[in-house]
Symmetry: D2
Subunit: 295 residues, 4 copies
């Protein structure tokens, strides 16, 4: 799908409008159809609200059909048979296309358990998750009853739709679907921002391989030119942020022990609010450091 | 060798004295022999000084023979042929009996390069080292000339001897051959020492497997009942100290995010002074922490 | 009263025993008299428990008489007429002999209000207090009813007695009546204890002048040779601990701004547990510092 | 002087231009006169550079006359006789209109010593200073020779002129004459910005009274809506920033000791770069805090 201007969507024929938004909700063009008559929309926020209202007001058979239109997560069979382009990109973003054997087994077991209990696929907005957080979410949701899970599934479907809409529609207003993860290195030995510190952000995984998410260097303000994660949700999960401070101080001829007391400093933390702004700074000397959840 | 009282050593026949101290210097009883006449010694410090003086005053052929009396580090052939009990225990303490293939190759290459350049084995006091620090020491010493390396080898031999003497001889005074690594967890959320926090100390290795050195729990004072490392040198090298703070705060019903922002906190640092006292405390809330090199 | 050995007290005639302990409870030798028969005491803890039991079991007229035997706090008339040596020293210790006019007025008003409501003097163990905390204690207790205040007064009288007994009697065991206030300066710029830092502890007062309690310099371990307050209760109240760090770093030629960003660092905190151990460390670079309630 | 648009100044008659800028340099319209011909100026930066060049190129008699056109600092006689409106406002800004007796004596002595040594008044750009820093500047400059002091005086006069020009002329570009002092309170007990904390910034003085510079409350982001000092140079000097954290935590029902360990936290620091951005944050729990020079 190429990006569309909201002003264009407002003036399209109903049919063009539905075509443009057909896959915002997976295989469910009826939602765009029911929304078309409410045009024009003042912004993408209003458009999304209208589509969500259509879902919320739909009879439960239709809602169940919407749920069943979604593929299993990380299913090799379904991936082989082909997903929508949107589903495919979303699943890849979280690494579901390159699972370790242990992870694949865990996902398959979870999918099967879920589908056999509820009769519909487990759905979660994967762009807000990591592999590890999805498996925890499975475990948390499996004991629920079907009505609670239908509700949760619809909520996750709406989160998926909001992210698709955000990518698809250009509008003056923005849906609040993005978060931000940033850092800042203060050299409290020299009393100034630490410039030129190599920083690596890694997503941690218990079952499979950890994944490097960002690799960058601090600028003259001790920050990174781009947020470590930005312009998208910050996936729920566990991370390690590593700072090469030994080299930084060595380059400045700061007296240190041999080997240096501190070299590569790892900060390990979890993200719980994908749409929030999480700031994880480092205050550092060759002999001490501190961090905190900032904002 | 069973432990000996200094007062007994002072009154033994020369022959018994030499037997008792024969292996303080590897396969070199002549050092004990030359020291016997200087008895009685006021303490183990004076005894060690006398033995070291005998080494320092020896003609260079004898010093070279002393050096050559030592085995190669981590040599499978020599280990199979048998080391002195002391050498064997020392090499095992640092993990030289369970090297990964990559490590074994690295040691063998280093030993060969050293021996072919200098004509005598590479010697280092392994109880003051980790596998990684030994390989760095190799690299640092290989470019030296033979006379500098003979001097360094004698110094390392004296360090080995001091540690053997410390274990062998009971005396009122003590050789300064031991260091200490300790920690302390302060709960700055509650304003009190953090009791019951699980702590794991791991020795890090780049080529092989990391080794857990200590696994303990903080007491009511936020400290560990025993130092993490004590009663021996703290091996030069790189370590990770991990604190299970997520569980600590969860057990106290402290409000946290889900998943908790901080769960297992890793502090990574290096030891450079095996005989020093290194204190690595953790000041922690569910949202922040700090550490520093204390004393 | 000169110090007495517990063993002597155990063998004195009843009359000598009573003479020796007559003023442990202000003008109330009957308490020592009732305790004499329970001799010998294994330690001062047992002796104090026996005296306290005598007070607790006394009929309420006697307990009221004990309360009324105490002088008003900070009363110029009573000070002129003469207090027991013990009361005089205790009141002086907290500065009640050198009140500002505003303080004197506040104490007089409080005393009068208390005495006119309850018919007996306001009693507090002044060695556990500062002028400011006494005035807060007044305000907190004035709304109480007479029976609660009799109980509180007896508790305070027992605290006074315990401190007097601790000073008077030499015994192997010790009453738990002392606290400790200590500090520690860590130079996290240099990675070592900060030696030679001038430290001043001041007791703060809202109505009158602040009082310097201790003036010292850190030793090679970054600590003070003596605790800032020790061998006595740490008075409840508000304090400022000031560290001359600008000079410390200047003497070490550490590059700083002109004027230095940090020069004299004040830490302001309150003491709430006179018998506890309060540790207030400073972690400092020329550009940053941190403190926390340690133990 | 009312504010002037640069575009207007560029098109004024020479006479109007000189009138408008006459007092940018104290009682020295010749500088504006010499600058008029270089119009039009692309911005205020270029205008200031041209005026400064006129001063730098002037013969030394004229430069001396410029220096002598300035009043003594804090002189009661001259203040009574009348200063230019600009001088008056500048001197008041730093509190020179309300000196304590000790301060007044110190200024008078310094002025006299300076004038009698050099034959011209001591000049400093007071908007970049505090009373205390001016007295230190006096002491530092008095030992200089006359030629160095003429140079320094001209530099200070140009700083005064730049600030006057910045206020007087509206232009798209801005002279770099402003600094900023800001703070940020992080509640590391709750893991969020501390909102609603009362903050007071005081300028400290050794000889006279301290002056409250700003009194504000943190907003929902833990910052202050306006910088503590902004839109002007941050005067060189010593400051105390006090945070009412006891009340903040009490209002959130956080368990604390009685009295609270921390109540009003003072941070004492000095400013050395009036045109810089100085950020002094507070990371705080009821039991610990930290600060650092941020940016």
């Amino acid at each position: 799908m190429s990006q569309q201007k909201l002003s264009d969507l407002n003036t399209y024929s109903k049919s063009d409008f539905v075509t443009a938004l057909a896959n915002v909700f997976e295989y469910s063009p009826w939602i765009a159809e029911q929304t078309a008559a409410a045009r024009p929309f003042a912004g993408v926020t209003a458009l999304f609200a209208a589509m969500k209202a259509a879902v919320d007001c739909a009879p439960s058979e239709l809602r169940l059909a919407l749920i069943k239109a979604h593929p299993d997560l990380a299913s090799k069979t379904q991936r082989a048979a082909g997903l929508t382009a949107e589903s495919d990109a979303e699943q890849n973003s979280v690494g579901l296309d390159s699972l370790s054997d242990a992870e694949y087994t865990a996902f398959e077991r979870a999918n099967d358990a879920y589908r056999s209990k509820f009769g519909f696929p487990y759905i979660v907005c994967v762009r807000r998750q990591t592999k590890a957080s999805i498996l925890r979410d499975f475990e948390r949701r499996l004991p629920n009853d079907a009505s609670a899970e239908m509700q949760t599934s619809i909520e996750e479907i709406c989160r998926i739709a909001a992210l698709r809409l955000d990518q698809l529609v250009a509008s003056d207003d923005k849906l609040k679907v993005h978060g931000r993860l940033s850092t800042h290195v203060l050299d409290t030995h020299g009393g100034k921002p630490a410039a030129g510190v190599a920083v690596v952000l890694t997503e941690l995984s218990e079952l499979g391989a950890s994944r490097v998410v960002a690799r960058t260097v601090t600028n003259s303000d001790g920050r990174t030119d781009q947020p470590l994660i930005g312009g998208r949700p910050v996936p729920i999960g566990s991370y390690e942020l590593a700072f090469r401070v030994g080299r930084y101080f060595a380059e400045r001829q700061v007296p240190m022990s041999d080997p240096p007391f501190l070299d590569q400093i790892p900060l390990r933390f979890s993200v719980s609010e994908p749409e929030g702004h999480l700031h994880v700074p480092l205050l550092v000397t060759p002999w001490s450091y501190a961090t905190y959840r900032g904002s």
